[in-house]
Amino acid sequence: MALYPKPAEGSWTEHFPGVGTGVLSYEDCISPEFYEAEREAIFKRAWLNVGRVEDVPRVGSYFTKEIEVAATSLVVVRDLTGQVRAFHNICRHRGNKLMWNDYPRAETAGSCRAFTCKYHGWRYDLTGKLTFVQQEGEFFDLDKADYGLVPVHCEVWAGFIFINLAESPEPLQVFLGAMVTDLGGYPFDALTERYDFTADIRCNWKIFLDAFQEYYHVPVLHSQEATPAARPKMPGFEAPYYNLDGPHRMVATSGPPRRLWPTDYQYPIEIATRSGLFGPWNEPDLGDDLPGVNPGGIKAWQMSNFQIFPNMEILIWQTGWYMLYRYWPTSHNTHRFEGSLFFPPARTASDRAAQECAVVMFKEFALQDAGMLVGTQQGLESRAVRDDFPLNDQELLVRHFHNSVASWVDDYQRAHPVSVTR
């Protein structure tokens, strides 16, 4: 029996025009040619989240970001006026990587008043302008104004720093659309206690992302999220609300806070730390008005998971914390996952213990996905089954995501018929 009413069309999938109910192909996750197309069509054209404003807290704060899928490294910096800027992390003299420490391919961060190349000492100010050339007189008609760092489009929304590698992209807020930008008033800036995770995972980026945008698998793969007493009461999963907006999508869940569940529905460590997978029980006061977080206005709202095209997820919990995931392709069948958990700054030891419990439990269950999805990649690569994967209504976001990826690749290939083959 359905827990929640479906839209008038009979299903969430049919509620959204053009999504379709047919079987899905996963060729887009196993084809090296398709990966090459995605690199150009998506990762060099879409806005990509590379950090938070807290990563560049002061004038001169910078960090580098390796973007393998676009074969480049960026340096993101807060300039003297406070503006956040991004540049290709390359010295204009002879192409050396500009900012790095110890290992050229490893990311780095720090604070500086100028960028100085380790090779020949060329120096750039925080706006990318070339300000010093070693033995400038030895060069031939060199005009320093012609040799600034190569800028990359960089915009900030709600404290999230995005870059875009296209020549003239649409403005970030237009790209994000109303469903996402309605979240702009959420107090992300109050949630600065942060845990960052990273993992190199041997599956296509979309396979991992798919596992974080459908909860049909949760009662099965993650059955131990429920205690033995609670498990029989959780036969399946239904979401009360889905929404799509352009290439972006979201799902919300509802239910009573875990702290109100019967004690045998919680693990001992959850009760002792007053926390768990759904977060600390002591909720911060973030104000009554949290615009955009529950666009469906569902009752007993629990969390909303916003999937921002192409590779970013913001998951906001009713209990006053959020998660940020990014999936960075490194080849057609590998990617690097980045996950961050953001809480209010801990003011007491009990805050710390509660956050610790939420963080440890996140890792327990994320490792289940990370372990299993290597097998999904292998299964798909066998091509024993092709183009015939049935998806149900709770997998709407998976369907919409693969459709969106295909649509971006198709659009690009129509405009560039020779440069990319599929």
Binding site: D196, P268, F337, G339, R347, A349, R352, E356, L367, G371
Partner: protein
Amino acid sequence: MPLPAEFADLEPYLAWALPTESERYARRLDSSLVEMQTFYDAAFPRLEEAIVYCDEHPYDDLPEDARTLLRLMQSLVMVSFPVEVWKQARVPDSGAAYLTVTAEPVV
């Protein structure tokens, strides 16, 4: 005294008082279930009391013994799923997967 006097009975487990997640996770992977269960059985009954003790001090200026106690309790959280749920150190079916913490608040 490395631990507050009231928690001296936990001193056999001081090797678990580790500042970072990666150290706590590495110790978990290097431990047998019996070792984790023994630590859990000793520390879990004292967890709420330990938090109350630490909460009596300003969090940003914890005395060294309280800091050690809190780090010990972070390791207790780290071994809770192996003991309460998995019955082993690694997450079942997680294969070669790992998730590395690259930034965290350190007590």
